[in-house]
Symmetry: C2
Subunit: 342 residues, 2 copies
Amino acid sequence: MPKQRGKQTSALTSPVTIASSACVAGSKEGRGPLRSNIDSIYEDSMLGLKSWEQAESAMQRDALNLALSKGNIPESALRFVLAGDLLGQCIGSAFSARECDTPFIGLFGACSTITEALGLGALLIDGGFADRLAAITSSHFCGAERQFRMPLEYGGQRPTTAQWTVTGAGAAVLEKAGLRNSAGNPRISHVTFGKVVDMGIKDVSFMGASMAPAAFSTLSAHFEDCGLSPEDYDLIVTGDLGSAGSEILRELFQKNGVTLGERYKDCGMMIFDPHDTDVGAGGSGCGCSAVTLCGHILNGMREKKWRRVLFCGTGALFSPMSAQQGESIPSICHAVRIIGGE
Amino acid sequence: MPKQRGKQTSALTSPVTIASSACVAGSKEGRGPLRSNIDSIYEDSMLGLKSWEQAESAMQRDALNLALSKGNIPESALRFVLAGDLLGQCIGSAFSARECDTPFIGLFGACSTITEALGLGALLIDGGFADRLAAITSSHFCGAERQFRMPLEYGGQRPTTAQWTVTGAGAAVLEKAGLRNSAGNPRISHVTFGKVVDMGIKDVSFMGASMAPAAFSTLSAHFEDCGLSPEDYDLIVTGDLGSAGSEILRELFQKNGVTLGERYKDCGMMIFDPHDTDVGAGGSGCGCSAVTLCGHILNGMREKKWRRVLFCGTGALFSPMSAQQGESIPSICHAVRIIGGE
């Protein structure tokens, strides 16, 4: 079978095993519906450190260390670490990687970064360039507010379409198939990298509207390239379109005669208590999809709850400066097909 | 031969061709010694647009379009665009990629990003996931000053170890070997991804000192993994250590009994007029190594001036916020081995 499927999809020769995964999060996430799948919940959003940025780096390290120890994998067995985050110049990842004696590949895909890391990582393993590597991303509510919005002390009001940046990190260790007994572990079989889509939306309090067309573009390409339809999946998950954005995605498909139905979920709508009115349209941030995937979804796949999952990270590629300059929001979505273990 | 060579190096099954490359730059760079290898020189640092950030995105597009037209390659023949820049949230790349109908993979490696893009791109092609793709990076002096340092109007003094961010962009199109007649074009045969190294340097006006140990780490790993020494290269080039940083790199090797000698150069010391006292220790920024490589070095290889080149992008992975918080500067270096065409 050709590895280049259609215009955008890479088909792996052998599915790459997700050997282990772990996630960590803050107390608000720890009170949400996914709490039983979060490996470590911090009551102190500073993690006892001096800044939110240091805390975010520490969350990345904790998520990686937990994933390694859960999988009984020494850090020295990793060939690469692929990581990224939302902070300017990706300092959450770079400062975490200082403590890691492994070649580091820095990525930026905004909130889609965990999927970019898993996708690239899977291709590097299938290409023969690594037997084992880690994908990590993170975000921190307080660091993101300081950077993208207002000082926390200001107590600004938010429109209902605004989303709440998740404080958390997720890490997954990918492994070459057959390296050891990995029955039961989920596996990545296809990767669809997305194009940058910009429909002219400028409202940074409604990122779901800017990201939904990017998700539509990548999911449509995935279905076409692979000859699949939504019915071929038990679960289709977008990263963080939130309630308003995921409604737009459903409508875009409906207009094309495709019903996503009950199998479609959004991490932004899964991670927080639905009665928590703080969070507006739902969660966002690199940590939102990473925590949901590396905990709830991958654990559910290990428990055979779902067998065929399409995981679609979504990212709004703007910056505080581009927003101040009145630019619209370019967006992206990358998708990985994850299949249940044997 | 194994594709995983030693601890950090990837050896390609078939060298990947650099089918075409182009670079664009500002007027200061256009007055420097590399001017004859710059495809387009802008007299207006705004490129007639409304912001330096828009100008930087336009430079990325121009560099890509020039590389495509020089290689007689339609954009539709690209499978991926790999790109990154120094601006927060990589907006230089994301806004450029809006106009591109090709899947986009966003990277962040600070000034090492062009090497990260070439390295990952080469592995994706050798792994069978693309026949052709583009690697692009950029930086803009005015945008970088606004973001990392002082408003230009302030006219701040700079220490002699400070570097001057290059206004420019470079793009290279990588192609699977044998896809068409590519005799004479340089080829990538090995990629060494680096670890994050932080020796505790906090002076953002002396980034060369923080990056030199990262360059030493990656070059040492490359030589060990491949069983090579500096004598096996006609040219060894670091990205932008500048005069002070490259002197440190020479000393680090000398202490280990290895002489880099005359074959060792640094892009930061090549790009500006050596009598230009503005530029301190030399050029920096993602554009520095990208312009030098995609013009001067690759053209020189096509003219058989050098046959074996080790190109080592170097990056300081700090942010304005991490510097304000008093953090030290994590640094990285990625290296690609480039060999002359047949």
